[in-house]
């Protein structure tokens, strides 16, 4: 375990360098939480309905706080990092070491996420609960949510790593990263719950991995699935992780054959 711990420590140390960025991240999240609150209060007020698309106002606010937290927890720099290392040829400095680069990156990211989570989670939850009426839905739901969010972290890493591998064949990868991030924020349920979409789209999303990264863990916390539904979703998360990891190890081997290690 000491390699994993070492990588996580590196991640924490590197993340700690960006104290100012973390502060900005927290402030922006809190500001958007406030905006979100005002917007939806107005929507619920005008419509005169207590429940929209199955959500009360308090549930929706809770949804938003948690989706921010899960996003912080699952976020990874692998796409940016790998594409940059490929283009500049610095990936070879890691390949010349007895490590599996993606495995190392996962644990490094785990460290930086851990730090970010601790610093970020507390103000979000406090302000969400005290100012905006975020709900506590019980210990069972919290436990199920934690497990689901943990799997979401692995799943998002696997999915991002899978996307990142494209950089081995395409030199300019920024466009793809932006497109991916845009799609992700909608398909994952980060911006609003996927239940707001028509039935047809909800069906489509359920066949994609994205919703298992944010939407599903948050819905789990809100108690929308029940215990068995939640466990079933975790199984799907695990299946996605296995599928993606298999694809990654296959593509990685091909990538190594074509990698030209430019520069130097």
């Amino acid at each position: 375990m000491s390699f994993e711990l070492g990588a996580a420590k590196l991640g924490i140390k590197e993340a700690a360098v960006w104290k100012f960025d973390m502060l900005v991240w927290i402030i922006i999240s809190l500001v958007s939480l406030g905006t979100y609150y005002l917007l939806w209060t107005a929507v619920y007020g005008f419509s005169g309905q207590g429940v929209i698309a199955g959500y009360s106002l308090r549930e929706l606010i809770t949804y938003f706080v948690l989706s921010e937290i899960v996003q912080t927890l699952t976020w990874t720099s692998i796409i940016m990092d790998l594409s940059q290392k490929i283009r500049r040829g610095t990936l070879i400095t890691q390949l010349a070491r007895p490590i599996n680069f993606l495995y190392y990156h996962f644990w490094m990211n785990f460290g930086s996420r851990g730090l970010q989570f601790l610093i970020y989670c507390i103000p979000m939850v406090l302000i969400g609960a005290l100012l905006f009426g975020m709900k506590f839905t019980g210990w069972t739901n919290l436990a199920l949510f934690s497990a689901s969010a943990g799997l979401a972290m692995v799943l998002n890493f696997a999915l991002s790593a899978f996307i990142a591998l494209g950089a081995f064949w395409l030199t300019s990868y920024h466009g793809i990263r932006w497109a991916y991030m845009g799609l992700f924020s909608i398909f994952s349920g980060f911006i609003f719950p996927l239940t707001f979409f028509p039935q047809f789209w909800q069906k489509v999303f359920s066949f994609l991995p994205f919703q298992y990264i944010i939407f599903v863990p948050v819905q789990t916390y809100l108690g929308k699935y029940g215990i068995f539904g939640a466990l079933g979703n975790m199984l799907i998360q695990i299946v996605w992780i296995i599928i993606l990891m298999t694809a990654i190890s296959f593509i990685w081997r091909r990538a190594m054959k074509s990698f030209t290690a430019p520069g130097g």
């Binding site: 070492g6 140390k13 360098v17 400095t93 390949l95 010349a96 007895p98 990698f259 290690a261 130097g264």
Partner: protein
């Protein structure tokens, strides 16, 4: 850990082979494009590809415990060869065997045993002090705490980087970073070390210390080194044997001392006289400069032997002193590169 491998000059035993490269070929496909905006746009639609042959039919061997110099002009293929030998580049054809491994097939098992410096490419995590990278490498290579401390302290002392290792890497100068890179490559006491321009940006004093450290490590631990550099004094100070590579092919493989014999066709004589000298003429000799008491001659060894020149001088002149020198190694290398 002392003397596990046969030391470099232990000629009594048959030495094991550390590297064997056979018929190695590597081609790259790149796209070309003229300058200009219109051309940039055109290249989006129609890409012109061109194949570059970086290495062609490269074969050589290196013994365990050897310090091998790999030299050649820019773009010769040195870095490409190093990358292939580290298992980070898949060859187009040919085979490599290093320490009994096939580098790119058994990468993880193999690279445990090697150390690499890739020129100025940073081996360190950029935003944190170098010492944090070293600590991580201790976990990566599973170096025992005691060995880690001993080696690190020794290298810090030799390279004079006590304070450097505690500053975030991005704030370091090129030379300071290169010294830390070297520590990264050697911390785990690898059997085989590839140094691609390890002395780039390093000052003279540090260069000398690095060279001495490499020699010491080679003698004490029997570490094999492959070094590329554009600084011929690195080569003269470290390597008995060199491989010269030009346009992707090996043009010389042998002792450094032999290269002079093979390629040097002239010698320089500086003669001092005890009285103003009379006119000097001899077939095969060219006067480079002269004054009343001194004369510099270039002797063409194809036409005349050096002994005949000195005999002639001693017989006919009042000679106070003679110094015979080879042309500098740079001159020789330059001639080979030009071919």
């Amino acid at each position: 850990m002392l003397l596990i491998y046969p030391p470099a000059n232990n000629f009594g035993e048959a030495m094991a082979i550390a590297i064997e490269v056979r018929n190695l070929k590597k081609t790259f496909r790149t796209h070309t494009r003229e300058a200009g905006l219109l051309e940039a746009f055109k290249s989006l639609l129609f890409r012109k590809y061109k194949t570059v042959t970086a290495l062609d039919k490269v074969s050589f061997k290196a013994d365990e415990g050897e310090i091998l110099g790999l030299i050649g002009p820019n773009g010769a293929g040195k870095s490409t060869l190093i990358k292939a030998m580290c298992g980070t580049l898949f060859p187009t054809s040919g085979t490599i065997n290093c320490l009994g491994f096939e580098p790119w097939r058994q990468r993880i098992k193999y690279v445990k045993n090697i150390g690499v410096v890739f020129g100025p490419k940073p081996l360190l995590w950029w935003d944190i002090p170098a010492i944090d990278t070293f600590e991580f490498l201790r976990e990566v290579y599973e170096i025992p705490e005691k060995d880690f401390k001993k080696r690190l302290n020794r290298m810090i002392e030799i390279l004079g980087i006590e304070n450097v290792t505690k500053t975030p890497v991005r704030d370091l100068s090129l030379g300071e970073r290169m010294k830390c890179n070297l520590v990264c490559a050697l911390l785990h006491n690898p059997k085989l070390v590839f140094l691609d321009e390890p002395t780039i940006g390093v000052d003279i004093i540090a260069k000398e210390r690095i060279r001495k450290f490499i020699r010491d490590l080679n003698r004490e631990e029997g570490t094999t080194f492959v070094i590329t550099t554009h600084d011929m004094s690195d080569i003269e100070n470290l390597c008995k044997r060199i491989v010269i590579i030009n346009k992707g092919a090996i043009v010389y493989d042998g002792l450094l001392s032999k290269i002079k014999q093979k390629y040097i066709k002239t010698k320089h004589l500086n003669v001092k006289f005890s009285e103003p000298h009379k006119k000097f003429t001899l077939n095969g000799c060219k006067i480079e400069s002269e004054n009343e008491y001194e004369l510099t001659i270039e002797a063409n060894l194809k036409k005349i032997q050096i002994g005949d020149v000195t005999t002639y001088l001693l017989k006919n002149f009042k000679v106070a002193d003679i110094t015979i020198t080879d042309p500098p190694i740079e001159e020789v290398i330059k001639e080979i590169y030009k071919k």
